[in-house]
């Protein structure tokens, strides 16, 4: 391997594969398929390089791998692909490891318990091995998923399973919820924003907020989720988030008497 490769030459060497990748094609290479238009992350890219060149993971030629890795980063830039920060951090890590391996042996840190010098590649290799194990088992899970997806059971939601009862409280109907929602809107403090908000309040954020609140306190009254909200938009989005969670059967709304205070609780999960 020519150690004097400049970036453009490295690019030429690996470009055919990347050209295919950039076109969104899969490239068959032996038993595995190089898919995606971008690698999932730096570890993914490193494992790919290791596999491609049949590198022994217990003896990584750090200079060569670093050069190739940097070459890929350059190409991703050329193709105008979004490069996550983690790729750049790994580039720095690789260069650091490389520089440490270039130090004369006496200047490296010695492990007291062994004669061997602490290899600067160790942490990276450990991380790669760990990730590799999970990548492999993910493939096995995919096979399980595939096999299982060919079997079917009753699909329509005709008869609900027997639920563990929280029977003091009765399930709240949609009109009760709408009434409660309208009560919240009526509260005096609500101001219409003068101009459109820059930050959108997302349903996802609200969903997380609702769940977090319920994790801390087993249950909470309906109005609690709307405290400290001043805009109609936020209130509406929060209510939507609540309805979505109810639809997903993650939370439930109960009231102990007709037209009583509505309490939101976390569902334990139908399968428990």
């Amino acid at each position: 391997m020519n150690e004097n490769n400049t970036t453009p030459e490295v690019a030429t060497e690996i470009a055919p594969e990347l050209a295919a990748i950039a076109n969104g094609l899969g490239l068959k290479d032996g038993d595995y398929k190089v898919e995606l238009d971008i690698f999932e992350g730096p570890l993914d890219l490193l494992l790919y390089l290791i596999r491609k060149d049949e590198i022994d993971i217990y003896n990584i030629p750090i200079s060569r791998v670093t050069k190739q890795y940097l070459g890929y980063i350059e190409i991703m830039k050329m193709l105008d692909l979004d490069i996550a920060g983690e790729f750049l951090m790994m580039a720095a890590t690789l260069m650091l490891i490389k520089s440490k391996t270039l130090l004369p042996p006496e200047e490296r840190v010695e492990d007291e318990n062994e004669d061997e010098i602490d290899d600067p590649r160790l942490d990276l290799v450990r991380q790669l091995l760990e990730y590799k194990k999970f990548k492999e088992v993910a493939t096995e899970l995919q096979i399980l998923e595939g096999g299982h997806s060919k079997t079917f059971s009753r699909i329509e939601d005709e008869i609900p399973l027997i639920e563990p009862s929280n029977k003091r409280l009765v399930d709240v109907g949609i009109f009760d919820l709408l009434t409660a929602f309208s009560d919240v809107l009526k509260r005096g403090e609500i101001e219409e924003p003068k101009e459109l908000e820059e930050d959108e309040v997302s349903v996802s954020d609200r969903i997380v907020m609702i769940l977090q609140t319920l994790y801390e306190a087993e249950e909470a009254v309906f109005s609690r989720f709307f405290n400290n909200l001043s805009s109609r938009m936020e209130i509406a989005v929060t209510f939507l988030a609540m309805l979505e969670l109810m639809k997903q059967r993650k939370i439930a709304a109960r009231q102990s008497e007709v037209f009583g205070e509505i309490v939101i609780i976390l569902r334990e999960g139908e399968n428990d």
Partner: protein, 202 residues
């Protein structure tokens, strides 16, 4: 409560309800249930009239299981997520998909599978620890998996920042056709961390 059979004619003592009648009752429950039913759940339904121990109920379910195999039915009883379920055999999948007009059953992406694998084997686990293994941000993937009901929040770790800890759900087991987490492939090997003493060649 008991609309399954006429209470006038059936006695409340177990000896008076013939075994094969009870077996059919269990079969009916499994037939209508949308989710896997545990022995305990079956017993809860039966208990008003039929007094059987869990082991006896299990025995009847096992008999049904064998019946279906012997009679070469298009379905089998499988043990999934700690319960039992009637499911069709794989050879009929294309016809069933035609019936429901599915193009492809829903499958997870590589990133989702990897992230899910990490959580499944290492739960309870925080997002930071997941990212430590995958080397990338997992926020989006975790969100998707959570929305699909494959993950759940177990609580918070009592350390500064109180990060959320994640685990997998019953639905996760169902999605992969597993009975319990111990049935995950290479369970013993992956549940522990990669050995710290790796010998590198110089």
């Amino acid at each position: 409560m008991t609309e399954l059979f006429d209470t006038e004619t059936v006695q409340t003592k177990e000896e008076d309800v013939p075994q094969d009648k009870v077996k059919s009752i269990i079969e009916a429950l499994l037939f209508v249930s949308k989710r896997p039913m545990s022995i305990r759940e079956i017993k809860r339904v039966l208990d008003d009239d039929v007094n059987l121990k869990e082991l006896e109920i299990l025995g009847l379910v096992e008999e049904l299981k064998i019946d279906y195999i012997k009679e070469q039915k298009c379905f089998r009883i499988v043990e999934i997520a700690g319960g039992f379920q009637i499911r069709t055999q794989p050879e009929y999948s294309s016809y069933i998909m035609r019936l429901f007009k599915y193009d492809q059953t829903e499958r997870l992406t590589g990133a989702a599978l990897e992230t899910l694998a990490i959580i499944a084997y290492r739960q309870p686990i925080t997002r930071a620890d997941i990212e430590g293994i995958r080397g990338v941000d997992v926020g989006g993937v975790v969100r998707v998996l959570y929305d699909k009901g494959l993950l759940k929040i177990l609580g918070r770790k009592e350390v500064p920042g109180r990060p959320i800890i994640y685990g997998t759900t019953q639905l996760f087991l169902e999605h992969f056709g597993l009975n319990a987490l111990g049935d995950l492939p290479k369970s013993a090997e992956l549940r522990r961390q990669t050995e710290t003493q790796i010998k590198l060649k110089l």
